[in-house]
């Protein structure tokens, strides 16, 4: 007989029965046992899990004090140590979805498995699916409560017991930016022709790859005066000091390196290696300045066209880099640049 799991449930003030929009400013609070949709959830969980406490917060209060509420909730969760944390379901309610997502993320980070439920168009789904949260797909409104609770309960039990979780389609959660390689049972060619025929006949078909949406990065506005600006060079070209002291890999980098260029008028061939696996490195080895144009930038510095060049060169390898790793590397380098007071960055790419 498996032991009954301990569950903490989070809902908003509306579902906590405290009222509509007038209750949106209700401060965060906790009570023993179940409240609101927690009753149905408890029924579904049956004797396999017990809701030991319910946390309730007004949507307006949460958005006004998000960090404080998150800290408050985490203090309670640390004390209660539930086997699983359940939030919502929030359906298409935007503010409710954002609070469910944030609290689930905090719980996961503290090692407590979390499950919530939302409609795919809830802003909380956009924001938190990429964080790999388990968000059960629901209808847009509470009309879908029964089905949502059923799926949330089933998934929460599996997660609380650390059981294997099926695919998004099988378990009914929204794709959460995690891909698992599986046998399909049929060669790619057969599946491709079948999908193509369905598409041509205008019959429904399912793409096997969910289209990623990429963040659009608007170019920054021009700097008013470069002649007084401290400039820095950041490159993904994999140009490293000879011997590759920081062991940058030729592909799939997860770290970066910084090298002093203080006092150098140009990069001297032989003192630099190119470890990037995505381009022919011959020209870069013959003249590293053609990858990182230190010679040209020193000219501009002398002519007063740029203020000054930072004494450090920041390097990583872009080849086959994962987006998440590159985002982190970019943020880490940017933090150092900000610390140094850099106002402009030149990013020679390959």
């Amino acid at each position: 007989m498996t032991q009954s799991l301990r569950v903490v449930h989070f809902i908003n003030a509306f579902y906590g029965g405290m009222g509509g929009e007038e209750a949106a400013q209700t401060p965060v609070q906790i009570q023993d046992g179940v409240a609101g949709p927690g009753r149905l959830l408890a029924q579904r969980l049956g004797d396999q899990a017990e809701i030991v406490a319910t946390i309730i917060c007004g949507d307006g209060y949460f958005s006004a004090y998000e960090d404080e509420v998150a800290d408050w909730v985490m203090t309670r969760l640390q004390a209660l140590r539930p086997d699983v944390f359940i939030a919502g379901p929030a359906f298409r309610s935007g503010r409710y979805g954002l609070s469910c997502g944030r609290l689930c993320l905090e719980a996961e980070r503290a090692g407590i498995p979390a499950v919530t439920g939302m409609h795919v168009e809830n802003p909380g789904s956009d924001l938190y699916r990429g964080e790999h949260l388990y968000i059960v797909a629901t209808e847009a409104s509470a009309v879908g409560m029964s089905q949502a609770i059923e799926r949330i309960a089933a998934l929460a039990l599996k997660r609380g017991r650390s059981e294997a979780i099926g695919t998004a389609a099988a378990e009914g959660f929204l794709p959460r930016a995690v891909r698992r390689t599986v046998p399909s049972g049929r060669p790619a060619a057969e599946r491709a022709v079948e999908m193509a025929l369905r598409k041509w006949r205008q019959e429904p078909y399912t793409s096997e790859i969910t289209i990623e949406t990429f963040e659009v990065i608007p170019p920054p506005s021009p700097l008013p005066d470069l002649s007084t600006t401290l400039c820095a060079i950041v490159t993904e070209s994999g140009l490293v000091r000879t011997g590759n002291p920081d062991r940058l890999p030729s592909a799939g980098a997860t770290h970066w390196a910084a090298y002093s260029i203080a006092g150098m008028h140009r990069l001297v061939p032989g003192e630099w290696d190119a470890v990037h696996g995505g381009f022919d490195n011959t020209a870069a080895l013959q003249d590293p300045n053609r990858v990182v144009p230190l010679d040209a930038l020193r000219d501009l510095e002398r002519q007063g066209k740029i203020g000054r060049l930072l004494d450090e060169l920041f390097v990583t390898v872009g080849n086959m880099g994962s987006l998440n790793a590159m985002k982190r590397i970019g943020a880490e380098i940017a933090a150092v640049l900000q610390q140094r007071g850099v106002g402009a960055v030149i990013v020679p790419a390959t």
Binding site: R176, V182, A189, R191, K199, S207, E208, S250, D280
Partner: protein, 433 residues
């Protein structure tokens, strides 16, 4: 047969066993190979100083390392041109006549280059295990393999050595199949794009080739595809080996064997006249140098597809190997096809880390709404145990950043030789999880 016909009879001789013998001959599924006669037929003494010939069968405790390419053994007994056209004289259009083919046999080339290489233009380690947990996920673990281990003559360049290796493997492919020349085939099939019911959708296979330079290129009729504008091939030209691989990067490399045994050509032929009308193969090169050229490439591919009447296009890059840079050309081709009124499905690999939590596709266009996945290249298979016999070298370097390790020892390799092609064939996919 009319002079301009594209009708090809392929006669297959099944190979189950390979042995060395005093005479090269085929009998009841066994190919006996006279080593000296084979070596005499394929010699390139100016370029390749020494060729070792090894045999490997499925299930053996055997590992083949430094694999550069693999080819089908076949010979053209009648018809225009030759197999692997352009490599044996004039580039006469192939795709007609009668071929003998050794089915279930692969001819592998294993070699290390004499000069140092760098960056994109360097060969990556490629390993085949004939048994054990990795075998189902590497190409040529299920074929009877003749492995040619080639050593460069003193002071030859990489380019000279590479050209020599292509000649060696293709001559060997013809020499071995020649053993069946006088025999009646066991099975045969005629390949021709016969007329179909007019209402069937006209389908083209769009194949984006890999071309970056030495060590990373594809040959069409004996010439690399740098500068190639999209063009049309009859599928029989593919079967005849019009495309030869000179790309040694992992894992998305298209092997010569995978071109002549193209899974799309086979599948579209199988369904020709049943539920589709197979119109042909559009080829062009990926890895174009600029955004303008990548977009142009897409439009030029779509243009050829439309001009040959396509309603539907199925597109792959390097037999499913869409990794980085070439994904942009690939997406532009999908986009252009859709804008030219062609319904398009694309087969792609996914990138990402072992647990699948990193984004797996580096570029996309909204038009790419029908994608078939062959799984993630970051997906880990169990480590392979030590093996009794290694062909091709004593050390391996699965990751260029690591030190070389004992080739016969336990190996934990992400992608084995031909991994993407193999995954397409065995039907791996990926799901949201």
């Amino acid at each position: 047969m009319m002079p301009g016909d594209f009708s090809l009879d392929v006669n297959d001789f099944a190979i189950h066993r390979l042995v060395f013998a005093s005479q090269t001959q085929y009998q009841h599924g066994t190919l006996s190979i006279e080593r000296e006669a084979l070596l005499a037929a394929i010699a390139e003494p100016q370029i390749v100083s020494n060729i070792e010939v090894h045999l490997a069968h499925p299930g053996e405790s055997c590992r083949i390392v430094h694999v550069l390419d693999a080819v089908e053994s076949m010979v053209k007994l009648s018809g225009r041109s030759t197999v692997y056209p352009g490599h044996f004289g004039s580039a006469i259009p192939a795709g007609s006549g009668r071929n003998h083919r050794l089915q279930g046999l692969a001819l592998l080339v294993s070699a290390e280059f004499p000069e140092p290489t760098s960056g994109a233009l360097s060969p990556h380690e490629s390993i085949v295990d004939m048994s054990g947990p990795a075998a189902p996920y590497c190409a040529f673990s299920d074929t009877a393999n003749v492995v040619l281990v080639c050593h460069p003559a003193p002071s030859v360049t990489n380019a000279e050595f590479d050209a020599g290796l292509h000649r060696v493997k293709l001559k060997a492919a013809v020499y071995l199949a020649q053993a069946t020349a006088a025999l009646a085939p066991e099975t045969w099939q005629t390949y021709a794009l016969t007329p179909t019911e007019p209402e069937l959708p006209r389908v083209v296979f769009v194949d984006q080739l890999h071309q970056q330079g030495l060590m990373a290129q594809t040959f069409l009729y004996g010439k690399h595809t740098q500068g190639l504008e999209p063009t049309l091939l009859h599928p029989n030209e593919m079967l005849d080996g019009a495309l030869v691989n000179g790309n040694y990067r992992q894992p998305g490399r298209a092997i010569t064997y995978a071109h002549s045994q193209s899974y799309m050509v086979r599948e579209l032929y199988r369904r020709h006249g049943v539920d589709i009308h197979f119109r042909g193969v559009v080829i062009g090169r990926g890895w174009q140098e600029t955004q303008f050229l990548k977009e142009r490439q897409g439009w030029m591919m779509a243009r050829v597809a439309r001009l040959c009447g396509a309603d539907v296009a199925i597109i792959t890059a390097d037999v499913g190997g869409t990794g980085g840079n070439n994904t942009i050309d690939f997406m532009q081709t999908i986009k252009a096809c859709e804008h030219m009124g062609i319904r398009t499905v694309a087969i792609m690999q996914e990138s990402g880390n072992p647990d699948g939590s990193e984004p797996t596709v580096v570029d996309h266009v909204p038009e790419a709404d029908a994608l078939v996945s062959v799984g993630g290249i970051g997906w880990r298979i169990p480590a392979a145990p030590a093996v009794e016999r290694v062909i091709g070298g004593e050390t391996v370097r699965p990751n260029l950043a690591d030190e070389p390790q004992d080739a016969s020892g336990p190996l934990d390799v992400g992608c084995w030789y031909g991994a993407i092609w193999k995954r397409s064939e065995i039907g791996l996919s990926a799901v949201d999880a």
